[in-house]
Symmetry: C2
Subunit: 397 residues, 2 copies
């Protein structure tokens, strides 16, 4: 870029975000992020950190002292769990039923540990019986890692049962709750989960870039009694706790992403105002409305009803339809973003998100209208005029 | 936190940021961050990524194709360099003349490599003769790592000479330019530097949380011909290049911090508008003005004049003065943040930043006024009434 070529400020197009995240970010959160930057060791900022910690404890339903946001996206949160808890030579049971379980396996192996994969078909939940068998076959396994809400397929797995199985066998549990936190119950203490990480850009409706996380006391003890240093300096909890820990005097570790934390705080304040239970109920209801509309149109879901995530709907692409063309039309005409299939599901499903601020009647209504119009135009066999009344019936009786 | 306890939005106090970063963030950057979030695979976002890349190439004075921001703070950028370039068993010459050189050593060791430390006193630059000797004593060393602008001491090292020495011995150069980029010349191509990383919250005056980085073609070849996988999945350039690389089709790796990138883009647009040379000249002039004022007051600098960073001024605390009390008064009375000493310099120096939007005549004026008033009140032997005229003479002749 030459010195005299003018460069314009970036003004993004208006979008309605109904993909697998980011979801629509409320103006309250955006304007919180635009407040003046202060120092990461400012007394006022330390107060904000304490409040974020308390609000995250509320969101995770936990009293864990180690509850904080990692200064990076969800994949940094995932990595923080593995590099702190897993040492070279350890064995970890990794449940893989989609893209993000596969990423967990990569993390385990890059820690110099052995991953014992428990595989389930994409679109189905993790099978606890297989996990039980793997734990029995691998006594001394350090941890069981699984994805609570698989963003690539829209499947919920039974976190309570899986955490309990791990504990029964003396293993830690590592739970990916990136897409679940704030959308369906994430009950860290009730499950007895040892490490749970999430993302900000899904059901919390904050901007992407941070990864809230909580570690049980048992997990903290494992970190503090490591034989080797964690391979990541940036994510080393033995250092990071000096900054985010409970001490009055905070030791500098790295410069916290101050304004991103303003945004996270505001999104957590909003979640707290609505109430966790109310947020879960809203996500459930919007899913019921979308489902009624899609099924009235003649579309079907990838996942069996009892395992579906309300906030991430994997919808089968009708035969003969170019799914990318549909998404392009939705984006260009309606500013509406829905997600493509990932990995093994590329080209086969759409992923429609109803997350956080994108889980409203207006989102459901726009999505059904736009999808029906575009599909009909492209010659798909969809029932026209039935989706909206079906959704409205769920929404308003 | 209970469900019925109301939680207020966070409104930060007004500060003037003259510490070691973050620096004051211009309203243009803050408001850019508050623009509506779009998807990280949106065509409009891909266009923004291309522009950020071109603007970073301008800022780093490079044509390197691998030029991008890491989705984490400067310490993630540092780690990205080491985990991608260094493999177990490698030897790396690490120059340590402050806190951040020490952090580089930690990074090398956590990669399973051997760090050969070239130590220089805090407050002095890296000695090229020692580096040359270390390279001769360690044939086959993989890289030389050093900090261009030591934020803990305010020292500039001779990057051109050090990069050249590395190259002469067939080693890569890894350069920490966190505090230098935008404040003094960072000339990646002219130096022949192989890996240079920076931060957003220093002389770019963006919010903290991202780490701009550039890799030479030679460094990219080293990454692509690794024998082992990099230990970090999140920072693995062999994966990340699918998203930030030059291909028309971007492969999803992790969810980019969309709004933080809006902010970085705007801060780079502002740097481009001002022009790199003009920005360097402004930092130099503000340093001269601050120096004239501080010296007129009777204060002295830690670092010899020829090695001083204009943007980070390590000032000796006068004998008998409680440096923390001075900072507390400055913060409470004037909203003015200056930095404490780090590590070996804790209690001995203040670190006064003149970075980016905090390098203006008004910042210099406020800092001198406030410091003189507080020091006089606390009984320090400072000459009163001389600092401002001395600074004004530099500023306005």
């Amino acid at each position: 870029m030459s010195s005299n070529e003018p460069v314009l400020s970036f003004n993004p197009p208006m979008r309605v975000l109904m993909g697998p995240g980011p979801s629509d970010v409320p103006a309250r959160v955006l304007s919180a992020m635009a407040r003046p930057t202060i120092g990461h060791l400012d007394p006022a900022f330390i107060g904000l950190m304490d409040q974020i910690k308390a609000l995250l404890q509320y969101a995770f339903r936990t009293n864990n002292a180690l509850t904080m946001p990692i200064s990076g996206p969800g994949s940094a949160g995932m990595e923080a769990c593995f590099v702190n808890l897993v040492e070279p030579g350890d064995t970890v049971i990794v449940c893989v039923n989609g893209v993000f379980g596969g990423r967990m396996k990569e993390n385990v192996e890059r820690c110099g540990a052995t991953a014992i994969v428990v595989a389930d078909d994409w679109g189905t939940p993790v099978d606890p019986a297989k996990v039980d068998a793997a734990l029995k076959a691998n006594p001394g396994a350090k941890a069981v890692a699984f994805v609570h809400a698989e963003t690539s397929t829209g499947v919920a797995s039974d976190a309570a049962t899986l955490c309990n199985l791990a504990r029964e066998h003396g293993a830690l549990s590592i739970v990916d709750a990136v897409t679940s936190l704030g959308g369906i119950p994430v009950l860290a203490d009730e499950w007895g989960a040892d490490a749970v990480y999430s993302g900000t850009q899904k059901c919390l409706s904050c901007t992407p870039g941070l990864s809230p996380l909580t570690f049980s006391e048992r997990a903290v003890e494992v970190v503090q009694s490591r034989k080797t240093k964690t391979q990541s300096w940036f994510l080393d909890f033995n250092l990071l706790l000096g900054y985010w820990g409970g001490n009055a005097k905070r030791a500098y570790h790295h410069t916290a992403p101050v304004n991103a934390l303003y945004g996270l705080h505001e999104s957590l304040v909003m979640l707290h105002e609505e109430g966790l239970e109310a947020a879960w109920a809203r996500h459930a209801k919007m899913h019921e409305a979308l489902k009624a509309g899609l099924e009235a149109m003649g579309l079907s879901f990838l996942v069996a009803p009892e395992h579906r995530l309300p906030q991430l709907n994997a919808v089968n692409v009708p035969a003969g339809i170019d799914e990318a063309l549909v998404r392009a039309h939705l984006l260009e005409r309606y500013g509406l973003e829905i997600g493509a299939g990932l990995g093994a599901l590329a080209g086969k499903v759409w992923r429609i998100g109803l997350m956080g601020a994108s889980a409203t009647p207006n989102h459901v209504t726009l999505c059904l209208t736009a999808l029906e119009t575009v599909l009909a135009e492209l010659g798909a066999t969809v029932a026209v005029g039935k989706a909206l009344p079906a959704a409205a019936k769920v929404l308003w009786g």
